[in-house]
Structure formats: C-alpha cells, structure tokens
Symmetry: C2
Subunit: 256 residues, 2 copies
C-alpha cells in the first residue's frame, strides 16, 4: 500500500533576513522538528515585510502542502504585518482574540501595563486559535493549516514544543551517516548505483546525500542515507560500507 | 528623477537544507554582498534536489528580478542536478564547456586525474560563461541573468568575490543602528512616526527595522535605519535619537 507523504512549507517573513543582518535559524529548526513529526519540509520562501509578497507566498504554498508555517512579523511595531497579510491571503478579517488579550494583559501587568502597541499582538485572523508561548508574552496563531510563529528562534522553538505530537503525519524520516576520507568525485558512481539498487518506489525510497568537506588538509565526505523504513536504511547503509570497503576505503559509520 | 531599484533573487538548492542537516549560510552571505553592489535581495526560495521544483523557482524569479543566483547542486554526484535543471528552465541544451574541462583537468592532475564523474562539473547550459573559482576546482556558471554558484559557503564567497563590481546596480544601501534599553512595544508609535516623517517616496525612502533582544535579564532593542541617501539616513537617525531621548531613554548610536 502506498503511504501518504505529509509535507509542510515555511514562509520566513523579514527584511532583516533579506538584508543579511540576521542569520536565519528557523529553517533548520523547523526542518528538524518536522522530521520527528513524520512531516517533510518541502519548500521555503523568504519574503520581505510587504503584504503582497507575503500573500503570494502564503497562498502558493498553503494549497499545495499539508501545513504551512510562517516565522516573523508578529511583534508590536509598524513593520509587523504578518497577521494582516495572512488574513488578507485567507480572505478573512482581523479581530482581537479575547484569550490573547488576557494573556498579554497578565504578562505586561508587571512590565508597565498593556498599551495599544502591545494589544496589537492580540490581533488574529478571524477564526484563529492560539498557540501557547511559554517563553514570552505574545502567543502564536493557528488558522486552518497555517501556523504563525515568532521570528525569534528560541520563542519559535517554544511554540513548536507546544505543537509537538498534535499534527497528523506519516512515518518519521530516519537517517544514517557514513563517512570516508575520499573525494566525492571518486565514488559518485557507487553512490548512484547503491541508491538506485535500494529504492523501492515513492512510498519506500532511499536517498543518499553527499556532503564533502576539507579538514586538516584532507578531503572527506559524509554520506547521509534517508529513508522512512528501518530495514531499507540498514540494507542501503551496509551495502554502501561494503562498496566503499571494496575500493580500499576506511569508512566511519556515524560519519566523520 | 526616480532611481531604478535593482533586485536579485536566490534559489537555494539542496535537500540538506530542507532536512535541517545543514545550516544555510548563503542567504546572509549573498545579501551582504548584494548590498555593496547596490542590488537588493528581494526573495529567496529553498527547493529540494528535484528538477521540477528547481525549474519552477528559477523561472518564477529570473523573470521578475534583474539577477537570479542559485547555490548548491553543482558537484560531481548523482544528486547534483542544478545545471540540467537550469538548462531545462531556459529551454537550452547542456554541453561540456572547453575552458571548464581544461580547468578541471589541470586541477585534478595532482589529485588522481580527471574522471567521468569529475568531468560532469564541466557541463554547462548552452551559451553559458564561467565564473572563476579561486578556492577549488569546478567553476561557477553565468547564463544571461542567472548565476550558478557552489553550495559550500566559502567556495560561493570566492565566486562572489570574482563577480564584485561586474554587475550593474544602483546606490548601495546605507544603514545606521541605534540601540536602547527599552521594550519595542513602548516605542512602536515613535518608530512608525519617525519612518513616515522621513520617507520621501520610492526612490528616496527610509525604513526602520526593530530588533528586540533579551540580555542579562534586561529587554533592549536595536533600531536599524536603511536608506540609499546619506542625508536621509542622518536626519532620520538624529530624529530617532531626539525622540527616544525625550522619553527619557539613553540611546546608543551604533547599537547595543
């Protein structure tokens, strides 16, 4: 039986990423979290703090993936337009969420009190639910298959933590890394043949990625095998070790 | 007179980014380099090592930007399909570039000699030119407004270095950072009003970004002002310092 592959996309919203000022951490963080939920990160777009750009990306990706995540642009300042843009993308209005207002009022009680700017963070697209924020004040937002997270990585991490186990997904992706001191160009054929020999179709495929590096003046590479079935992962990895060994190469199960 | 804004887009090609295994560094690196060329990074997409995905992203972005860059997928292994995908996107064939073959033959002379797998790295879309690679063997590729760079960040950096000053662009973006120990929600109004007061239209705009942080138990934020005109940058920054000062806040020109 063909297993369904669950996919997610991410829209990173922020001029600070596109200007090079801030190094994004949310792509890798979300990808790693999704792997464990049995969901594959299929595509990412980084867009500026411009409503039309956000709307276009959100609508393109939410329709062709099971889930869509966004990071960034949910703070209190004028450049935080994510909620308005997503409401526009979905064709709904924006409203103050009573529970978000309560959370924020409580959070700011000992921090100078609630203000109009802070109340902006209680605004949600109509019909949305909240995602718990255990780290700071403003909650994340879920509406349909769209998940609106904070841009600050450790706050986004807390929101993902709150979502763990709540999304329907498939089998988690398993991986195995095998390293060798070899130029990847010397074993390109072997990699290709090994991958082809072990792939059994869309629902039970194996993919081998090749990641070269240079260290202490030597050339090496790690080969990462990914599969959703343990037996395929094992068989493919063992075959690769045998193949590399037959070329006289020492291998490192777990990578170099 | 309205000045033209030059834009570029980036397609990051690589399963290793989408799986979370590798932390991308090329977005920030390219963005920073583009700023100095007077070109704005307008949009980024991260796509898997799948031809259809690459073709779709390349064709969407190359037509609506002055320049399109790609990183990743130009090595010797079976998962390196960038050249074929871009040739398909442009509707041209793939050919061995004689100068690339020469470069690779020379490079591998002392490294075990040229092989079929290594020769793959001399393949280019028909009509392409090479981009010098001062760091390792395989060159980058330019075809029309598409620039194909390596995925390994320090190799991509070398290719960008070789391109410095060769692309037509506008005025470089200038920036000024002002920091204060304040919750951004307290000065949201001030930021908005200051930005609005100093923006003089599309060709002479000012943008203020707000970047909160938490350090040593205190809440602070850096405000980054960006403009292409020095006089606007100065005036907007000075006004922001006066505004923050009138609220009793100490400011740090250059950021915290």
């Amino acid at each position: 039986m063909t297993e369904r592959i669950w996919t997610a996309a991410l829209v990173v919203i922020g001029d600070e990423i596109l200007s090079g000022r801030t190094q994004d951490r949310n792509v890798a963080q979300l990808a790693t979290w999704l792997n464990v939920q049995g969901i594959r990160l299929a595509e990412v777009r980084v867009v500026p703090d411009v409503q039309d750009s956000i709307v276009e990306a959100v609508n393109a990706l939410r329709t062709r993936n099971d889930y869509l995540f966004t990071t960034g642009g949910i703070g209190p300042t004028h450049d935080d337009i994510t909620v308005d843009a997503i409401a526009a993308a979905l064709g709904v209005g924006v409203t103050i969420h009573p529970a978000a207002r309560e959370v924020l009022t409580r959070y700011y009680e000992s921090r100078g009190g609630i203000t109009d700017a802070r109340l902006r963070m209680a605004r949600v697209p109509e019909g949305a639910e909240l995602i718990v924020n255990r780290v700071s004040g403003a909650p994340g937002i879920r509406i349909g298959n769209v998940f609106i997270l904070a841009g600050v990585p450790h706050i986004a991490a807390g929101m993902l933590d709150a979502l763990t186990g709540t999304l329907e997904g498939g089998r988690p992706v398993l991986s195995r890394t095998i390293g060798a001191w070899v130029a990847e160009s010397e074993i390109a054929e072997l990699l290709h043949a090994t991958e082809r020999a072990h792939s059994q179709g869309a629902d039970s495929g194996v993919a081998i990625g090749s990641y070269p590096f240079f260290r202490d003046g030597r050339t090496g590479a790690n080969f990462v095998i990914r599969a959703t079935r343990q037996e395929l992962l094992d068989a493919c990895g063992d075959a690769l070790i045998v193949g590399l060994g037959s070329m006289g190469l020492e291998t490192f199960d777990g990578g170099i």
